[in-house]
């Protein structure tokens, strides 16, 4: 807005009405005629595509073309739009609507490229498809021959829906047919809570496709609640779609008078007047606040201690005692005493410490202070009165709905706080019943059959949980490195063990590290489809250092350095800049495709010819398969079109198929959108808490909610996992019950040089790093560092000023946005901006110039929201 401040204009309204120019007396009375109205859409055609970015709403996109060029994108507005009926328009947000800017961007990749200068120099030459396929195939073959399949890795990517994830794309099938590859565990989105939920509620709760818990209730289940407590659950920003969670949330709250309390360092768009209170909490201190909630609850459950039956809430207390392992000393001692050979958890019996139970820890019985609201308040910044109010609301509500976003767990204490968040509803008897939730991210009740995922998943990897066999050999490499050690594994993967680095499915001895199995090789070959982890992994400078390592020759398993880096994408991203071979993929609207989302199933057909020489990534995989002599690879067709049609046919007629899905016949020119009517509100974890005979039926080793985890007790002991004491102190950040343990660069950290906390939130203006290079989106979603007016005043900063923002890892340059929508002492930037170096600073403003590559203690995940920074004028 370059013109006026409305507030000034309304005061100067008299001045406006006196402007007459010279029109009134001197104008010629001849009337200009109206031009005839022309058909605004004459000559236009359309074809459906789908936004495949990692927001996961995967909205339909109506791509409008004229004379063979895309002229704009429109949202889905076909059919009914009635939220109460469950059939609605699934309108894409502004990001999907700007697909045109991705298709025709100056960064668009148009031909295969091969690096000519040092890695990362951005010096490439154009090569033929044949040469690209030959060289990549050769590299795969020689890596297997020299170092084994364990040295192959598929990078994390999510910019092309199912196809890009290293769990079920065409690249997965290829490498599975060759004997497997390193399939890391933990997504950047949800690493910490994936582990936290498995330890607390059991492996059976983990989502089949994504790894996040689907024990959660649906968003619409909130309509049965009288009190919603959100730990940063922010659907209105995360899903701007007109069809999915954000819309469901807005509609559900519109029709309800429930009390809504929102806890987040930022006053997000999930508030905007919907909230009854916003608690602007210091990042990563939610654990302290929740411990205070535990305190208030336990004091009312056990007003005369745990040896007395007296209770202000006898029913809730009984429920908690029945389901929570580790609630009291009696509870834990009883469990330990009964453990016998053959029982799950027996191997950890000696490590179970009954005195280390939740009640005594919270009360400070044996050591430490009582975790009262007065104890928590100076840590989290929220007053003791407000904390008390939350506890009272939780205890007095009929159906409290506790939920969380994923930002809270993307921190160095992520697993700890999530284990607390999962415990809270169990403690309250507010789980598995109407109007409640298990503490996790709520979801849209499953509506589609998931049919499209099934043929593809089984075709790639028949061990993919839940599906019924397939036509590829099972993945053979069971050993699984944490995703956040992807780059570290290029430098020292060969020596990693379960005990030292959390590598799963490697043999280990409970007591003797000398017997631990090593991974055996560094990662030598990395291929990434629609992923940008150079930009999106922690500490870009460290990533660059590792990618710059050159071994003495290829195929050296124990020498640091990657032999071959293959990047398949549509844009010259920071990751593509660091590739050895770049492969140009088609965008979402230049190929056939078929993807099921929560809300719609879309048959995509190309709206235009592929730009340049780009080809669908699958067709490059076919070329690789041919080069590698895998004659059995392309069993469903050799083109993306044939593959899509076959998958769709199976999605209709296969064993888990849906016969109401339309065939592709008749839709070759336009594709189609098939709307899923969403289901009634759904309660998560009903059966686990309302099992037969009322017995606990979790899939944990004890069948109970393992707030106390015997296995973690072992991990935390001196016999257990290696501890990073520099980062996490004596405990290494591990504890059998969840505890608030300050870490490196937390609020408590004594590093005066970096006085401010930073959160790297998910901006509306990108889906991670997708859409970054769309100029219109950069205009309407400004990238800036949010600073509270109080702090800005102290620092002498005004909105729009260019700032240098530094952490111990590096410096970015971004403008300031002074805003009341962020807590004091906290700053925020939107993650996903593309890294761009100039004179040692990142002028692109990428969050990961600032983040640290130290993984979290339990999940070995990516703690992007644990950063301390300082600010100076640029």
């Amino acid at each position: 807005m370059k013109r006026r401040d409305f507030l000034k204009v309304s005061a100067a309204s008299a001045a406006v009405t006196s402007i007459t120019g010279c029109s009134s007396d001197s104008a010629d009375p001849a009337e200009p005629i109206e031009q005839p109205i022309t058909d605004p859409i004459a000559g236009e055609s359309h074809a459906w595509a789908q936004c495949q970015s990692n927001c996961w709403a995967w909205c339909p996109l109506k791509v409008i073309t004229k004379d063979g060029k895309i002229i704009r994108v429109e949202p889905h507005t076909e059919g009914d739009d009635n939220f109460n009926s469950g059939r609605i328009h699934n309108k894409a947000c502004a990001k999907g609507l700007m697909l045109k800017e991705l298709v025709y961007s100056p960064e668009r990749l148009k031909t295969p490229l091969k690096r000519t200068g040092p890695r990362g120099s951005g010096q490439f030459k154009q090569i033929s498809w044949e040469q690209a396929a030959r060289e990549v195939a050769q590299s795969i073959r020689s890596t297997i021959d020299s170092c084994g399949n364990r040295a192959l890795m598929l990078g994390n990517g999510s910019g092309a829906a199912h196809s890009s994830y290293p769990i079920m794309g065409p690249h997965v099938r290829l490498l599975n047919m060759l004997g497997g590859f390193q399939k890391t565990y933990g997504y950047y989105s949800a690493s910490m809570k994936e582990q936290a939920i498995a330890y607390t509620f059991g492996e059976g709760i983990k989502n089949l496709a994504y790894g996040q818990g689907t024990g959660s209730s649906s968003v619409t289940e909130m309509k049965h609640s009288d009190y919603v407590l959100s730990f940063g659950y922010n659907p209105v920003e995360m899903f701007m779609t007109g069809g999915g969670e954000g819309h469901h949330f807005i509609q559900t709250l519109e029709g309800s008078d429930l009390k809504f309390v929102y806890i987040d360092p930022r006053y997000t768009d999930t508030c905007l007047g919907r909230e009854d209170d916003w608690l602007g909490i210091r990042p990563m201190t939610d654990g302290a606040l929740i411990q205070a909630l535990f305190h208030e609850i336990l004091v009312e459950y056990y007003p005369e201690g745990t040896n007395s039956d007296a209770s202000l809430h006898p029913q809730k207390r009984d429920f908690a005692e029945k389901f929570v392992l580790g609630l009291t000393e009696q509870n834990l001692a009883f469990y330990k005493d009964r453990l016998k050979e053959g029982d799950n958890n027996f191997e950890y019996k000696e490590y179970i410490e009954p005195q280390d139970n939740l009640y005594d820890y919270i009360m400070g019985t044996h050591k430490g202070e009582a975790k009262t609201p007065e104890w928590a308040a100076p840590i989290c910044g929220i007053s003791a009165d407000k904390i008390r109010q939350v506890a009272q609301d939780l205890l007095n509500s009929d159906a409290p709905f506790i939920c969380s976003g994923q930002g809270i767990q993307r921190s160095a204490q992520g697993e700890q706080v999530m284990r607390m968040i999962y415990t809270l509803p169990v403690l309250l008897n507010a789980i598995g019943r109407r109007g409640t939730n298990n503490g996790d991210l709520p979801m849209v009740a499953p509506a589609g059959p998931g049919a499209a995922m099934i043929p593809m998943a089984a075709w790639s990897d028949p061990t993919f949980p839940g599906f019924l066999g397939g036509t590829a050999p099972a993945a053979e490499i069971k050993a699984s490195i944490p995703t956040y050690k992807t780059y570290e594994a290029m430098e020292r993967g060969f020596e990693m063990t379960y005990r030292s680095d959390g590598v799963k499915n490697l043999g280990y001895d409970l007591k003797d590290p000398g017997q631990d199995e090593k991974y055996g090789t560094n990662i030598k070959f990395l291929m990434t489809l629609a992923g940008n982890t150079v930009n999106q992994h922690g500490d870009i400078n460290e990533v660059k250092r590792i990618l710059s390592l050159t071994p003495s020759s290829p195929g050296q398993a124990e020498e640091p350095g990657l032999d071959m880096h293959v990047v398949i994408d549509t844009q010259m991203t920071p990751t593509a800049m660091w590739a050895d071979i770049v492969i140009p993929d088609t965008t979402w609207t230049e190929r056939w495709d078929f993807i099921v989302s929560d809300n719609t199933t879309v048959l995509t057909v190309p709206s235009i010819e592929p730009v340049g020489e780009s080809k669908p990534a699958f067709e490059f995989m076919v070329m690789l398969a041919d080069n590698l002599g895998l004659s059995g690879y392309a069993t469903k067709g050799r083109t993306q079109e044939a593959l899509t049609k076959n998958f769709l046919d199976e999605a209709i007629t296969g064993p888990l198929g849906d016969p109401t899905l339309p065939s592709h016949k008749g839709f070759e020119k336009t594709g189609y959108v098939f709307v899923h009517a969403f289901d009634e509100p759904a309660i998560g974890m009903e059966k686990e808490f309302n099992g037969r005979n009322g017995k606990p039926a979790l899939t944990t080793p004890s069948k109970l909610v393992e707030t106390y985890s015997p296995r973690i007790a072992w991990m935390a002991s001196t016999d257990g996992w290696n501890k990073d004491t520099e980062a996490y102190g004596e405990t290494g950040g591990l504890s059998a019950i969840p505890k608030y343990i300050p870490t490196w660069e937390s609020f408590e950290s004594d590093i005066e040089d970096y006085p401010l906390q930073l959160v790297n939130y998910h901006t509306k203006g990108r889906a991670h790093s997708t859409f970054h290079n769309c100029p219109t989106l950069r205009k309407v979603y400004e990238d800036a560092i949010w600073i509270n007016p109080y702090d800005a005043n102290n620092l002498g900063i005004i909105s729009g000023e260019m700032l240098d923002v530094s952490s111990k890892r590096g410096t970015i340059q971004v403008p300031a946005k002074v805003t009341p929508r962020i807590a004091m002492g906290v700053t925020a930037i939107g993650q996903g901006a593309w890294y761009r170096e100039l004179s040692g600073k990142d002028i692109g403003g990428c969050a990961n110039t600032l983040t640290r590559q130290t993984p979290s203690p339990l999940a070995k995940g990516n703690p992007m929201n644990t950063v301390r920074i300082c600010i100076t004028k640029a």
Partner: protein, 214 residues
Amino acid sequence: MTKKSENQAFAFYFDASRCNGCKGCQVACKDGRNLSMERNFRRVYEYGGGTFNHNADGTMEQTSFAYYTSVSCNHCEKPACITACPTGAMHKRDGGIVTIHDDICIGCASCAEACPYDAPQIDTSRGKMTKCDGCFERLAFGLQPLCVQSCSQRALDCGTVSDLQARYGGTPGVGHIAPLPAPGITQPNLLIRSSPCTRPTGDTNGSVLNPNEV
């Protein structure tokens, strides 16, 4: 004051309690009308404020409020732009939509100076004024304006005043919210539903937080 049931003037309706600030409206128009980067026929303003105090015990007393307002041209009853226009290019069509006779516009930008809603904007490549025209050609062919069509949360609508009143209640110009100017200036044909935190026009407890985005 026009009678509720008869007012056939073209108007927009905006629901501040639903708007999520997604900018779909702003972007669909920019894209569909091929606007240069500095022109935004429809703009989404972020207005907010808050109070902040540190306590000696390390706790913070913080309040915050914010909301979005999507506005294009309000096709006003007393358009300041028409009054200001020296050539007669700016005019009102039958039905109330205010638009520009492109051929006689001289690009003097008097309309832009006069309009309190920033609706007329100069196209520097041609030296002509341009603005929201209610997508009247699309309307003539039974299509919604691009902004209304793309609103992800069903917070935008358009039609005659009487239609909108029948659907949503309200009155044009009544209950307008900051950062919009007082509606008495130009009598905008804009009906607004407020949210629990919207502030009335003239509010001084907040400010426009996103000037670079509009």
